[in-house]
């Protein structure tokens, strides 16, 4: 390499420093490789050339062009007419030139970074249209441009040459029928110029790396902006969050809910009991009465002088059985209502939990015990004061004594009437006695029977009443014991649940505040990080802008140096 000629070394080193300071491994590593590749390309002996075909060369023109590239060289051109591109390496006096053959549609399209082509050879063939504008677009990418005519009819214009000359170091129109490419860059003759052309191409390469950095910066900025916006909004939301208010209102909300529901349940159960056991209209009363009405006879236990009367056992059994069955059913219904109410409360609490976003622990009410209910039933449903009645047995003596009563009555009356002497007259006393005896027996028989009947009826009434009293006792006891048990249970559950919820909410509040504070700190740290990233990016942008000004200066130096070389000898 010639000394004292401007090179891309300093700009390349400066750009590497910028990339190093930026330090985004995924991005900067690749770009650093690109810069280093450009540095090496400067030191290499060879360079790259883009040969762009405007229009389609026929076979004859292709042969001309190949000869112009280098006579005798074995190169195959790609099928340009079908939009294909191709490559070839050609050696000129030991210097390797890498050709890329391109149709117009692929010109100017390349991967950013990497070794830049130094030369553009624009080949004008028949069938091309509006090529000038396209060429002006791509001209600035090259250090030197050759406008190659292939026939007399289609020629590049001088205006175009003038225009592209302003964009590169060297431009010329020539034709493929005379001369060859190495007339323009011979390593021996044009060493300094070639070096400067390569340097200029290197500058173009560095510029595309800088453009790529700008694209990555834009991407970085967008990403940071987005993340920052999202974090800021999260922070605002946290700061304005009404979570604290919600937590404070929640216990009373839930308390009202529970009290209302359990209150309704308690009232409902008690009303149900009252209705069930209501005298005259209640279901239990009616059933007990219907069973009591079945007592139409007694079971008699004959004793020596009395007949003990008891209610037939099957009726007692029916009474106890039905009482048990009905009251148990009532209790089951109450338990179901309780269960449903608990489920409603649990669901409502769940709803409150999800609508407020506050995680209330799963609430489970303890069920009202069926076992306790059974125990109440067993204790209460029985015959507490069994009915017991009796009837006296009438023997002959009683009959006789009854008769004797009438006899005595007759003689008392006779005595009162002064007819007591009649007692001594057998003819009077015997028939009277027999007559009275007969009447007395008849009378006693009827009245004893009637008396017995009446007494039995009375006892039956007593027995029924006794059974109804049992029913009443059972009603009172069940209402009292079961009703109280339910109320106590609900009260205890309500207290237990509310205490649990309050404890939990307090803990949630404390945790959430703690988490909220931690989250706020985390977001604030994130935001600080984003701001730091923004500052770094801003610095990279500023450094890149300064670097680009220096790069422009280097390019200018190369231009001046190149023009100096053209004074002697001219190309």
């Amino acid at each position: 390499m010639q000394k004292n000629l401007p090179t891309i070394e300093k700009p390349a080193i400066d750009l590497l420093k910028i990339l190093n300071d930026w330090n985004l491994p995924a991005v900067t590593q690749n770009l650093e490789s690109d810069v280093k590749a450009l540095q090496s390309a400067q030191l290499n002996n060879g360079f790259a050339v883009d040969m762009v075909f405007y229009g389609n060369p026929d076979i004859e023109k292709q042969q001309q062009i190949l000869k112009w590239i280098k006579p005798g060289e074995n190169i195959a051109l790609p099928d340009i007419s079908s939009g294909k591109d191709g490559e070839a390496s050609v050696s000129y006096e030991g210097m390797v030139v890498q050709y890329r053959f391109l149709p117009e549609s692929m010109a100017g399209i390349r991967q950013a970074g990497g070794m830049r082509p130094v030369w553009l050879i624009a080949v004008l063939c028949p069938g091309s249209a509006s090529h000038d504008e396209h060429l002006k677009q791509i001209a600035e990418d090259y250090a030197a441009i050759m406008l190659l005519n292939t026939d007399e009819k289609n020629k590049w214009s001088d205006e175009l040459l003038q225009s592209v000359s302003e964009q590169c170091l060297f431009a010329k129109i020539t034709n493929s029928q005379s001369g060859s490419f190495d007339d323009f860059f011979s390593p021996a003759t044009h060493a300094e110029q070639n070096q400067l052309l390569k340097a200029d191409a290197g500058i173009s390469g560095l510029e595309t790396v800088a453009k790529t950095i700008s694209l990555f910066i834009e991407k970085e900025e967008r990403g940071t902006k987005g993340k920052k916006a999202i974090s800021q909004q999260k922070l605002i939301k946290l700061q304005n969050s009404g979570l604290g208010d919600q937590l404070q209102e929640l216990p009373s909300k839930i308390k009202n809910l529970i009290n209302q529901q359990l209150g309704n349940l308690d009232r409902g159960i008690n009303e149900n009991l009252v209705e069930f056991f209501k005298p005259k209209t209640g279901e239990y009363y009616n059933k007990a009465k219907s069973i009591a009405d079945k007592i139409t006879d007694f079971e008699e236990i004959k004793k020596s002088k009395i007949v003990e009367l008891v209610i037939p056992p099957q009726i007692i059994k029916e009474f106890v059985g039905e009482s048990h069955r009905m009251i148990y059913q009532l209790i089951i219904n109450n338990l179901k209502s309780a269960h449903d109410t608990f489920a409603i409360i649990e669901k409502e609490i769940e709803k409150i939990s999800s609508s407020t976003g506050i995680s209330i622990p799963v609430i489970s009410f303890r069920a009202i015990s069926d076992h306790h209910a059974q125990s109440i039933l067993e204790n209460v449903i029985d015959i507490d004061k069994p009915y017991s009645g009796e009837l006296s047995i009438k023997g002959a003596y009683e009959y006789f004594m009854a008769v004797r009563k009438y006899q005595m009555l007759f003689f008392m009356m006779a005595s009162t009437l002064g007819l007591s002497f009649l007692r001594n007259l057998m003819v009077v006393t015997i028939p009277i006695t027999l007559g009275l005896l007969g009447f007395g027996i008849y009378n006693v028989m009827i009245s004893v029977e009637k008396e017995r009947k009446d007494k039995t009826e009375k006892e039956l009434r007593k027995a029924r009443e006794s059974l109804m009293n049992e029913a009443k006792r059972i009603s009172t006891e069940i209402s009292r014991q079961w009703g109280r048990y339910v109320s106590d249970h609900l009260r205890s559950e309500s207290t237990h649940i509310l205490d649990e919820i309050e404890r939990t909410l307090k803990s949630i509040s404390t945790n959430q505040k703690k988490e909220g504070d931690e989250e706020k700190k985390r977001l604030q740290r994130l935001l600080q990080g984003f701001e730091q990233t923004e500052r770094t990016t801003e610095l990279v942008k500023r450094n890149l802008a300064s670097w680009q000004r220096l790069l422009a200066k280097t390019r200018n130096d190369i231009k001046i140096a190149f023009y100096k070389t053209t004074e002697n000898p001219p190309l």
Binding site: L215, K225, G226, K227
Partner: protein, 507 residues
């Protein structure tokens, strides 16, 4: 505050008419320089991101699921997306999130509350699609004043800003996702639609895709490999394609040189406008054909048109202007671009004013009269031929509101119910089912029991149906399974929308 919303396939905007009678756009709450909200949504658990935030977040999460172009699914009765809790989101619900965000922006900027809004629809939207828009507003709890067709909104804005009188106008609206063409007459009394036509799946999106294909092709040829097409890369590709399309639309730009970053690799490109125009030529010619068909339907020729209004970002492509110049060759004809990306939103704000009775207050044209976009009728079986036919009650291009009656009869003595299939159609074989009207049980079923059906196409272009006893005038027991209130699936959608927090804003 009354507002107008341009609910676009790719961008949405919101406007209202200020105290000075001019329509203004309301900006994004976080950036007063941004007026257009990208119609994109990302849904995650109980939160959603809407608009620019989605695109920003994609930088960090390239593979995140982004919902876009859901407007094209209006009228389709199935979810557009299932979230992580397996809840199905219908396009109406996703749009509702977008509407809520726009509402927030407007109320934040103005300090007022929206108590009525007009939402735009493409002119050729059918009944189901319009009802979807109405449902979207309901899901967002946005009080809806009515719908307005996009070309009409643009014409309103043009008419107001140019103080134009007695003109016949063609509005060529080529937006991001749809194409509409409308022929209208405009005077100081109002705006009257004469004919309309369009295509639901033709818009700038298709043009961007052509450019995207070009970029990927060149990328592969230059790098030797395909870019990884995750959601973020596709977003970048779409944005770059849109930028290129816009830049190629600038005057005197025939070639565009661009550095493109895709999949973390940069390539340099040159794009030729001629090649781009070639790639979209077929699509443009399709829009021209539709335009000519529309003129025909209005009974007009090119020379009868006073002005051509180009609306929608994609209408700025110079090739379209060139083609239009060749068609509308009369010297008096003017081709206008009047704020093509914003005109529809402005017009929607103006229409909101009209509907709330404030038109005169602001010196706006007071009246608007649209036309039916489809033939509407009942699908029946011809008793003689036994073939399925459509009994057209309301014809295409009738002024709105349009109403027609027809009497139908039972065919069996014991028939106590009549089921009528209401359909819309443009062409003979292209039937769109609107819904089923079920009339019954009939009070006294008998053979030839008469049922009078009234079909109405309202000012919003919505179809309503009712059935009466023609002898007594009493309304019969009936249900129409396409009334917005009857769409049971929307109950769940409302809950989904309400429980979703948008952009961490607490809305």
């Amino acid at each position: 505050m009354k507002t107008g919303i341009d609910l676009g396939t790719t961008y949405s905007l919101i406007s209202h008419v200020g105290h000075d009678g001019r329509a203004i756009l309301l900006p994004d709450h976080s950036n007063k320089d941004i007026f257009a909200t990208p119609s994109v949504v990302h849904i995650e658990e109980n939160t959603a991101l809407v608009g620019h935030l989605v695109e920003m977040l994609m930088e960090e999460k390239p593979d995140m699921k982004v919902l876009r172009f859901f407007k094209r699914n209006f009228g389709i009765d199935k979810p557009f997306f299932y979230d992580s809790n397996n809840h199905g989101w219908y396009p109406e619900a996703i749009s509702a999130l977008l509407l809520k965000k726009l509402r927030f922006d407007a109320e934040h900027f103005s300090g007022g509350n929206i108590d009525g809004t007009v939402i735009t629809v493409p002119a050729h939207f059918n009944d189901l699609q319009r009802k979807s828009v109405i449902n979207a507003a309901a899901l967002a709890d946005l009080p809806l004043l009515g719908l307005v067709e996009e070309p009409v909104a643009a014409a309103l804005h043009y008419g107001v800003s140019h103080k134009s009188h007695d003109q016949v106008l063609v509005v060529y609206d080529l937006g991001g996702g749809t194409f509409d063409v409308t022929v209208l007459s405009l005077d100081d009394k109002g705006v009257y639609v004469l004919a309309k036509d369009g295509h639901t799946e033709l818009g700038g999106k298709e043009f961007d895709e052509k450019i995207g294909e070009f970029i990927i092709d060149r990328f592969m040829r230059v790098t030797g490999s395909e870019p990884e097409l995750n959601a973020y890369t596709l977003l970048q590709l779409r944005k770059i394609s849109e930028e290129i399309k816009i830049e190629l639309s600038l005057p005197h730009v025939n070639y565009l040189k661009k550095s493109v970053l895709l999949d973390n690799r940069a390539i340099e490109l040159i794009i030729n406008r001629r090649d781009f125009e070639k790639s979209i030529h077929e699509a443009i010619e399709q829009t021209i054909a539709i335009t000519m068909r529309c003129l025909d339907e209005a009974g007009l020729k090119e020379e009868n048109i006073d002005a051509l209004l180009l609306v929608g970002g994609s209408s700025m492509i110079p090739y379209i202007r060139e083609r239009m110049r060749k068609i509308f060759t009369g010297g008096h004809q003017k081709i206008f671009y009047h704020e093509p990306m914003k005109a529809v939103a402005y017009g929607a704000g103006i229409h909101a004013c009209q509907l709330s009775g404030d038109a005169e207050k602001y010196d706006l044209p007071p009246e608007f009269r649209g036309i039916t976009g489809y033939n509407i009728g009942i699908r029946t079986i011809n008793p003689v031929t036994r073939k399925v036919e459509v009994d057209v009650l309301i014809k295409k291009s009738m002024p709105l509101p349009a109403r027609a009656k027809r009497t139908y009869y039972t065919t069996k003595a014991e028939q106590n119910r009549i089921v009528l299939d209401v359909v819309q159609m443009r062409e003979k074989d292209n039937l769109i089912q609107v819904g089923k009207l079920m009339v019954g049980p009939l009070p006294n079923p008998s053979l030839n029991y008469a049922v009078e059906v009234t079909l109405e196409n309202t000012e919003d272009g919505i179809i309503t149906v009712s059935a009466y006893d023609p002898n007594t005038g009493v309304e019969l027991e009936q249900s129409f399974n396409n009334n917005p209130e009857d769409m049971g699936y929307l109950v769940g959608q409302h809950k989904l929308v309400q429980e979703t927090i948008i952009n961490n804003l607490g809305i």
